[in-house]
Each structure stands twice: as structure tokens, then as C-alpha cells.
């Protein structure tokens, strides 16, 4: 890729400098991004060490790292992580298992859409975490209230996106298939379903964000274990280092889940028939 650029460069004695410049240009995004990140962390550390602000309030990168190191060797931390992980996986798994089939069904059947849309639209208009006090009354403060709020948070975007994926399937393709007398099942499996894939993944990504939100809020509000519980406790006792480490865990989870879904989507893209 860089060879033509290389040839354009005139004087050979400028080679050394131009190689550095080219490296910079090729990786400008990473260089600038990495630098600002580094500067941010250094400034944070310097600020915390300067004594202008009590490190109790803002912590510092090294303190957070130290707190993380200590937590990793603490069995309570692993218990919290397991609890939060279970809440996320159970709730999100149930949301996927319900949201995609129901979204497909609503997209396919106009009547079903008419019957269910008042409920879906209402739930969509309200942050589902609002229902938390009710869910706690119904299910208690254990893991299941969190699973329920994670499920409710994630199922709506998955369902709505799947449904609009079905609605957006090319009418031309369906008409062509129909005039070649394709069966309903055939039309569904070879036109409608592949067409929904990008929509479903959009929904899955939104849903993952909502699911994580559910874990955090559920655990902040009322819980006995979990990373959100850990954060809340640490906040109440002014252990900002631990709070930051907990936030980092949620951040990492969010990034990893989205990256995994992107990867999975690419797999599906390969499988998708090349229609256009």
C-alpha cells in the first residue's frame, strides 16, 4: 500500500525523515489517541500527587491499579463478579431468546403488531429501570430482580430492531420470489431472515448496553452482592480507588461485548447471500 507513496518521494536523502512522517501519517489515529490518553493519565496522576486535591476524592491511576491488584486477590471480588456476570448473562440470554422470535413474529404478522404495539411502545417510552421498585417488591433483592430488570432493559431494543428489520425487507425481492411461486417458508428463510441480520445486531448492541445499565442500577439500588454493589459500598466508604476499578470493569465489559457482537456480525455477513 505504501509503495506508490514511497516512489513519489523525491530526494533519497530525505528518506529517513519521510519514513518517520509516513509512520506517523499511517498511524496518526493511534498516535494521537494514545498520546491524549497517556497525557490524561499523567495529568490525573500529577494532579492527585500535587496535593491540590485530596486523593480521597479523585484517586489516581496508580492507586486504581493498586486497588485492582488487591481486589483480584480477594475472593469477595470474584464472588461479586460471578453474581454480576450471572445476572447479565441470564437476563440478556432471556432477552435474546424472547426478543428475536417475538420481533420476527410481530414483523411478519400485522395483527400481532397491532395487538402488542401498545405494550411495546409504552415500555419503550419508559426507562425500564423505573420499574425497579416494583420488581423488587415482586422478586426481592436477590439475583432474580436484577435478571428481570436486565431482561426488560435488553428485550425492547432487540425486539423493536428485529421487527423493523422484517419490515424493511426488500418488497421487490419478495415480489420476485412470489412470482416464481416460492413458498412462504422459503421467502422467510432466504429473503426476510438474512435481511434482518444487520438490524438484529443493531438491536443486540443496544440491548447489551441496556443490560449492563440494568446490572448497575439494580445493584446500586438494592442488592447483597455484585460489582455494582461493590461500587456503591466503596462510594459510601470513600474508597474512590475501588469505585474507579469497578467502573473500569463495566467499561471493559461493555467494550468486549460490543467487539464480540461486531465479530459475530462479520461472520453473518459472510454467510449472507450476495444480493446487491
Amino acid at each position: 500500500m505504501t509503495i506508490p507513496l514511497e516512489l513519489e518521494r523525491a530526494a533519497p536523502d530525505e528518506r529517513a525523515r519521510s519514513a518517520a512522517v509516513e509512520f506517523y501519517l499511517a498511524y496518526e489515529r493511534i498516535v494521537i489517541g494514545g498520546t491524549t490518553l497517556l497525557v490524561f493519565l499523567l495529568a490525573w496522576e500529577a494532579f492527585a500527587r500535587s496535593g491540590l486535591v485530596d486523593p480521597l476524592f479523585i484517586s489516581s491511576p496508580t492507586r486504581v491499579a493498586q486497588a485492582g491488584w488487591e481486589l483480584v486477590h480477594d475472593s469477595d471480588f470474584w464472588r461479586d463478579l460471578t453474581v454480576s456476570g450471572n445476572e447479565f448473562l441470564l437476563g440478556y440470554g432471556a432477552a435474546v431468546a424472547v426478543g428475536i422470535p417475538l420481533g420476527l413474529a410481530i414483523g411478519l404478522s400485522r395483527r400481532l403488531q397491532y395487538m402488542l404495539s401498545p405494550f411495546v411502545d409504552t415500555l419503550n417510552a419508559v426507562p425500564r429501570v423505573t420499574l425497579l421498585p416494583l420488581i423488587i417488591i415482586w422478586l426481592g433483592i436477590g439475583i432474580w430482580s436484577k435478571v428481570a430488570v436486565v431482561f426488560l432493559g435488553a428485550v425492547i431494543p432487540i425486539l423493536i430492531n428485529t421487527q423493523s428489520g422484517v419490515k424493511a425487507s426488500e418488497a421487490r425481492f419478495i415480489r420476485v420470489a412470489r412470482s416464481f411461486s416460492a413458498s412462504k417458508l422459503k421467502i422467510f428463510s432466504s429473503i426476510v431472515l438474512p435481511g434482518t441480520v444487520p438490524f438484529v445486531f443493531t438491536g443486540l448492541k443496544y440491548g447489551a448496553g441496556r443490560a449492563l445499565l440494568g446490572v448497575v442500577v439494580g445493584e446500586l439500588y438494592a442488592s447483597t452482592a455484585g460489582i455494582g454493589h461493590m461500587i456503591a459500598q466503596a462510594g459510601n466508604t470513600f474508597q474512590t480507588d475501588v469505585v474507579f476499578f469497578g467502573v473500569l470493569i463495566f467499561m471493559a465489559t461493555g467494550l468486549v461485548v460490543v467487539a464480540l457482537l461486531d465479530r459475530l456480525e462479520q461472520q453473518f455477513e459472510k454467510w449472507r447471500p450476495d444480493v446487491r
Binding site: F40, F119, L132, P133, V217, Y221, T240, L255
Partner: protein, 278 residues
């Protein structure tokens, strides 16, 4: 006969929708009043009792309606909460717009700035921002400041990200034409980029409205004396289920109204939007 069928066809959506909502409400009311338990007692015997639930668990449509009537018009207690919540919401959202739109537009225009802020924006976007709440409480306490900050944090990202995308997706041909006719940066920005960005900005605002609602509820649930979220949380811990439902429905109504307003504006702007952009 034909006319009747035509009527059903024309209003199928409304009829089916109302019917299911109605059935749902009746089923709900029945569970609380024990209609189903009474009806099925001959069949199920004593275990039919399980079909009747105490009002503190599920309340009922009539109880919720009565509570709403009382809270809105008799005691009027909800207005104070509503005012308190709206105040924080408007402040947080205004701050998010004031920061998010300039930041997003600037990051979209200057490539290097975009590289610099990208790691922060994408990391924050992947995080459930409410996890910062305990930190915010350590910094500014549980008062108005904490609520405004969490609403800001939740709402600023969709606004900034959409503003960024808006500049990026501006038709490059238009920019090149304007630039070759000697238009300066400011002129380019004002006459090409900003107008074509408006739909994106509104879409971002629509998302931000929903996110901000989360901020209101969570910020108040976590530690606040007044506001709709605080009211819901207190009613929940006192098992006043009907009040919880009134609070939830109030938030639903507020969300629907706000989104509807933005969508109206969006539709109007779509008409005005230059047709070259598709």
C-alpha cells in the same frame, strides 16, 4: 355487512390495540379483586386462592387511577416532585446540548481533534454511565448537582456522537464545490455543514431525551429527597404499589410527549432539508 367489514378493516389497528389493552386491564383488575379465584374455585379448589394477589403486590387499574386522581388533583403532592425533577432534567439536558453539539461538530470538522477525543468517547459510550453515580455523589453530594451531572453524562454522548457523525456524512461534493469557489471554513460550516447536520442533531437529541430520563430516575432513586424518581423509590419501599405505578406512568407520559415534540420538529426539518442529501 360490507360496511361493517370496511369499518373493521379501516380501524383494525385501533380496534385490536384497544382490545388487548382492555383485556390486559381486566385481567389485572381481576387478579387483584379475586374474580379469577372466585370463578375457578369449583375447578381448582383451595389452590384457586393463589390467583388472587394482595393489592400491595400488584395494585390494580382502578387503584392506580384513584391514586393518580388523588396525587394530581386532591393533594397535588406530585406537582412538587414533577417540578423538582423537571428542573434537574432541563438543566442537565441543556448542559449536554451546550457541550455535546460544539464538541461533536468540532471533532467532526478537525480530524486530529476527533482522534484525540475518540478513545474517551468510545470508552464512555461503552460504559453504563450510571456506574459513575457513586463517584459523583462523593464529589458533589446527593443534591441537585449530582442529578444534573448524571443526566448530563448520560445525555451528552448521543448528542456528541451524532453531531460528529453529522459533519462526517456531509456530502463531500458540496464541500469541494464550495471550497473551489473560494468559500472559507466558516462559510462552509455555516451554509453547508450546519444545515445538513440538523437532522442528525435532532436524532441525537431524541436519544438524549430518553437517556436523560434514565438519569432522572436513577439519580433520584439513589439518593434524593424529592422528585418523581425519589417518590417512586419511597413508595416502593413502603409497598404503596399504586403510587409507584402513578410515578412510572407519569414518566411514560413525559417521555412520549417530549419525543413527540422532537419528532414533529424532525419532520418539519426534513421538508426543509436540501434534497441532494439522501
Amino acid at each position: 355487512m360490507y360496511a361493517e367489514r370496511g369499518f373493521y378493516r379501516r380501524h383494525e389497528r385501533a380496534i385490536l390495540g384497544t382490545a388487548t389493552v382492555f383485556l390486559f386491564l381486566i385481567a389485572w383488575e381481576g387478579v387483584e379483586r379475586g374474580w379469577w379465584a372466585d370463578a375457578l374455585r369449583p375447578l381448582l379448589g383451595a389452590s384457586a386462592e393463589r390467583l388472587q394477589l394482595k393489592p400491595i403486590f400488584i395494585s390494580s387499574p382502578t387503584l392506580v387511577a384513584a391514586a393518580a386522581l388523588r396525587m394530581f388533583f386532591v393533594t397535588g403532592e406530585i406537582w412538587r416532585d414533577l417540578a423538582w425533577s423537571s428542573f434537574g432534567y432541563v438543566l442537565g439536558l441543556a448542559l449536554a446540548i451546550a457541550v455535546g453539539i460544539p464538541l461533536g461538530l468540532a471533532a467532526g470538522w478537525y480530524r486530529r481533534l476527533s482522534y484525540a477525543v475518540e478513545p474517551f468517547l468510545s470508552a464512555l459510550n461503552a460504559t453504563p454511565q450510571v456506574a459513575f453515580l457513586p463517584l459523583i455523589v462523593v464529589w458533589v453530594g446527593t443534591g441537585l448537582g449530582a442529578r444534573v451531572l448524571i443526566i448530563f453524562l448520560l445525555a451528552v454522548l448521543p448528542i456528541a456522537i451524532n453531531a460528529h457523525a453529522a459533519v462526517r456524512t456531509t456530502d463531500p461534493r458540496l464541500i469541494r464545490v464550495a471550497a473551489s469557489f473560494g468559500a472559507g471554513d466558516w462559510r462552509l460550516f455555516r451554509t453547508i455543514i450546519l444545515p445538513s447536520a440538523v437532522p442528525f442533531l435532532l436524532a441525537g437529541l431524541r436519544l438524549a431525551i430518553g437517556r436523560g430520563m434514565i438519569g432522572v430516575v436513577v439519580g433520584e432513586i439513589y439518593g434524593s429527597a424529592a422528585g418523581i424518581g425519589a417518590m417512586i423509590s419511597q413508595a416502593g419501599s413502603r409497598f404503596q404499589t399504586d403510587k409507584v405505578f402513578v410515578g412510572v406512568l407519569t414518566i411514560v407520559a413525559a417521555g412520549v410527549i417530549l419525543v413527540e415534540i422532537v419528532q414533529r420538529i424532525e419532520r418539519r426539518v426534513d421538508v426543509w432539508r436540501p434534497p441532494a442529501l439522501t
